[in-house]
Symmetry: C2
Subunit: 268 residues, 2 copies
């Protein structure tokens, strides 16, 4: 959906503005912003205070939020909304056994994400025992241009879509290695496409490096990316490439095959 | 929030009906109902077809749903809504290391849930490698009266709230062992309260048995329940009670302590 199409839709009689705004308010809550006043929500969303207040009160009365002294927090019931997707989509649960196999073989974490706007969105994750980071749980987002999965997903876009993405990024310098130029990113993505995998070394966060490969459907279309992320101090770039990449490729192939056979089955 | 309070709120000027309805439509999607037409959504939610249609179109244009030939599915973006809760609440991520420890010691799965209306709602889960069931993923719900965590949560409610819950259950007979009488359930819950743990043997599903204990806050109030669920054919009731219960209690105590010290820290 392009911005223009969305604008057109908003002018149609079918658009329900209150629903749009309500979902914006839910998404205003985050690790950093876990307890918000009406004024906070108004600032984060750009909605007026009276509108923000009515939405928060409605969420509270429906059980999705709770409040104490004018400070609102989401309740666990909000999980039901994300669960509606997970329960209705068994693709990523099919991937789990293969991801576990990867983690067992390498001792490192493994995630799957898809492209959603300018972000990658985590849809599955199996973490190695040593790491527990809620920041990278299912449902979290990272900017596509600074991550290995983002590179893989971008590199496999049709030309026009890729250019639109390159234009829409807000290139932020996360570390001194972050790529912040459209031209440089285009060159890197060309290389990622040619070699069939992407690697990012501390471009998003100091001390974090990762490699990623595509997950393809039966028609060969890239539908997701799978990665392995490690602490830079423990695993060298060479080890990632020489030892982990082949295991990750095997994992990705197994998942692609499982998806293809599930989709060709008349029972699914 | 009682039904009466909710009704009163709905008659106030603050209630946003479209938001309520939109969230109902999102929750209409499930494993069973993963691809829905306007008519399906209308039937599942009780909303009129024109209203259901406008909500689905709005969700589609906001990127939360996609459609093909009039059939709608949720997209991964819906995960962002549940993630907003997870990211804004680190209580359950603190519990993870202790749950993993439990799974490592017993080889069985471990979950945490809270009471949400008449259901238990899963907020954390670490599964043993042999089981992969999306039905019991974070965000899923089960009827409180037929589960060990539900029994623990209900047993620790104040008298009046317990009675209101006993009255509001739609006692469904899932197996020939399901408790479907309010009086019998009250007796069982009394026993659960006295001994400090709950056990359910195939009351919800044939072949599934589980034990659960409370997780308490610093004031001793039960804020969640933690369980261990096993295949009845592999683990006897005696083994659950004699070998797993002490490990589960230790796990629950560790989590309660972690929550208490996190809440007493000025940095959280």
């Amino acid at each position: 959906m392009s911005t223009k199409e969305l604008d057109n839709f908003k002018n149609s009689g079918d658009y329900i503005q209150s629903l749009d705004r309500g979902l914006q308010v839910i998404q205003a809550f985050s690790e950093k912003n876990h307890a918000l006043s009406v004024t906070d929500v108004s600032k984060l969303t750009g909605l007026s205070r009276p509108v923000a207040r009515r939405i928060l009160l409605t969420l509270q009365h429906l059980g999705f939020a709770e409040s104490e002294n004018g400070i609102f927090r989401l309740t666990a019931r909000a999980l039901s909304l994300g669960y509606a997707y997970l329960a209705s989509n068994n693709t990523w649960s099919m991937a789990h056994p293969f991801m576990r196999d990867f983690v067992a073989k390498t001792g490192e974490s493994c995630s799957i994400s898809i492209l959603d706007g300018t972000d990658i969105l985590y849809v599955a994750r199996v973490s190695a025992k040593r790491i527990m980071s809620i920041n990278l749980d299912v449902g979290s987002r990272l900017p596509a241009y600074a991550t290995s999965m983002g590179h893989v997903l971008l590199a496999n876009l049709p030309e026009e879509e890729l250019e639109a993405h390159l234009d829409s990024f807000q290139y932020e310098q996360f570390t001194d290695k972050t790529i912040t130029s459209k031209e440089e990113l285009r060159d890197v993505l060309k290389d990622v496409y040619d070699k069939g995998w992407g690697g990012v070394d501390q471009q998003f966060e100091e001390g974090l490096r990762s490699i990623a490969v595509p997950i393809r459907d039966a028609q060969g279309k890239t539908i997701a990316a799978i990665n392995c992320s490690v602490h830079a101090g423990r695993i060298s770039k060479q080890m990632l490439r020489d030892e982990f990449l082949p295991v990750l490729r095997e994992c990705s192939n197994n998942i692609s095959q499982a998806i293809a056979s599930a989709n060709s089955s008349p029972h699914l």
